[in-house]
């Protein structure tokens, strides 16, 4: 129990405070860990409110914290309303079908899916699915390629100029090309995924391949000579060498790359969704912008904050994963 609590470091001073141990020191820790960040946030909110009051746009005043707070409740309400409508839609449909069956037991029953517009929360889910798919595709490509070029300096020299060339390319530059290629090649009568999804996914993958690839390669090429000698003396075959020596020793660097990649993927995704019209957060922002109601800016600001929070949480999840797979538990990961 105490060990578990130790892991939740911000709880520790509170626990000690309750026990009455060294009260003034605990209060100081709490002040530093809680009060100072809170003060920072409060100061930001004041400046934001002040600045917002003096910015008048064609869509009304720029939203301050209060408006944004209200809009976030509106978005929740809309979501609930939409869900309610969906439930009612299915109820009506079931009723109709039941009547039909009562009249004629052999009647063909069609269940039509609900086609209401996606709410803010549906769009968050879509964005998360898209970003994770794109990130997975990129990782599946980048990690093996990174290992190969890390092991083989010739291959590295061959690929490095290409990596350096494509690494700084903006997603917006890729998108038109990807869109055209997807429309040309991804042709099927009953597509498993929407084209907009595939386009966003590929754009995200193209942009977030590089940090993982480069960092994996660096990690792999930095394996100490000693461990390589061990591998040689043991005559490990290529597969064992990679799984027992190369992969574990490059995991820290690999995860640095993966975290950078996921961050980029999330950033790129919003832009990609705006242009590809994939029904995610990017499309939400774009639609609100096009909509141009007096609430739009507030709603966009909610999206901005949510995007930030989700980006932060994605990074935390990767950090947790890194801590789980990392063999060096003493390393400080942040």
């Amino acid at each position: 129990m105490s060990r578990m609590l130790q892991n939740i470091s911000w709880l520790e001073p509170w626990m000690l405070l309750l026990k009455g141990e060294n009260v003034s020191a605990q209060l100081a820790t709490i002040f530093k860990g809680l009060a100072i960040p809170m003060a920072g946030i409060l100061a930001f909110l004041f400046i934001w409110q002040g600045a917002a009051n003096s910015i008048d746009t064609s869509l009304g005043q720029f939203p301050g914290p209060v408006q944004v707070y209200e809009q976030s409740f509106n978005l929740v309400k809309e979501h609930k309303r939409e869900r309610q409508k969906e439930v009612e839609f299915y109820e009506r449909q079931d009723e109709r079908n039941a009547k039909k069956l009562a009249k004629n037991p052999d009647a063909k029953i069609k269940v039509r899916p609900y086609t209401g517009k996606p709410t803010f929360f549906d769009q968050i889910v879509t964005s998360l699915i898209t970003v994770m798919s794109g990130f997975l595709v990129a990782s599946v490509i980048a990690i093996p390629v990174g290992i190969m070029i890390g092991l083989n300096s010739g291959l590295y020299s061959a690929l490095n100029p290409l990596i350096q060339l494509f690494k700084p390319v903006s997603p917006l530059a890729w998108l038109p090309l990807v869109t055209m290629v997807v429309s040309a090649l991804y042709v099927s009568k009953d597509p498993m995924f929407a084209k907009s999804f595939v386009t966003s996914l590929i754009t995200v993958s193209l942009c977030c391949l590089w940090p993982t690839m480069i960092n994996t390669a660096v990690g792999v090429s930095a394996i100490t000579q000693d461990l390589q000698n061990v591998s040689k003396v043991l005559r490990l075959n290529f597969f064992t060498h990679v799984t027992k020596i190369v992969l574990p020793s490059s995991i820290p660097m690999m995860f640095t790359g993966l975290r950078l990649s996921l961050g980029i993927a999330w950033m790129v995704l919003i832009a990609a969704e705006m242009l590809a019209q994939n029904p995610g957060l990017g499309k939400f922002v774009w639609d609100e912008f096009q909509n141009g109601s007096s609430n739009s800016l507030g709603r966009i600001m909610v999206a901005v904050l949510v995007i930030g929070v989700i980006g932060f949480m994605l990074d935390r999840v990767m950090l947790m994963l890194q801590k789980k797979v990392s063999w060096d538990k003493s390393a400080v990961l942040r």
Partner: protein, 308 residues
Amino acid sequence: MAGDIHLFNRTASTTVNKGSNIMVKTHLEISDVSIEFPTPSGPFKALDGVDLKIKEGEFVSLIGHSGCGKSTVLNIVAGLYQATTGGVLLDGREVNTPGPERAVVFQNHSLLPWLSAYENVELAVKQVFKGKKSKAEIKEWIEHNLSLVHMDHAMHKRPDEISGGMKQRVGIARALAMEPKVLLMDEPFGALDALTRAHLQDSLMEIQNELNNTVIMITHDVDEAVLLSDRIVMMTNGPAATVGEILDIELARPRDRIALADDSQYNHYRHEVLRFLYEKQSKVEDIDQHRPKKVEAVEEEAPQKATA
């Protein structure tokens, strides 16, 4: 074999042979080995005509000043470096690639930090005995080797959870578990404190008493060399280092460090080695020059591709 040793012990002669030795049966032969490393200012000859014959079950120490090429000799025997001329014969067959029959104990343990002591040994055992031993036998063999080095109590700990001496013990267990024809030890105790080193030397003598392995050990430590070895090979300073003198150590085994501390024979051997190192191959005049640094740099950075 054992009889031979006792015979030697009784006569206890203190011959210092130069370059050659009378062998009953050669197990490992280092034959006229020279190696050159390419440097920007032309090839650098680290070793020149190293000749050494080692019989089975013999414990040979290589001693010399740092940078004289001791590690290079060991790396050539291990197959990690390729000799420019000459070669290494093990049981009459040339070896020039690394392999588990020439297991290496590295100076800084070189355990895989993500594997436990057991798993580190397991990696080696599975590599050598895959298909030859059953699962249960493999497990037993790993545990046997870990208990040989007195690590059975901590075999499921990872390297960062055990002390430096314990890591080196595991490194030795890993090498022993491969049942090597030759055990190569590259300053195995160099990074340890004096007490731990003494413990490990005692353990090594104990193991050697039991298994009678053929060992080549590199060391800086004169006491260690005299205490452990059957023969001490003293190397001249580089560049173009070679075997300077060979000293037969004919002290009765098992050897006891405390008893030997006052032993005149033991002290005589120590003197021989010290005289070689500090009088005949004194390095004092080199300290201010650039060469020793360069030698070391070349030794450490010499790439594997340095094959001619």
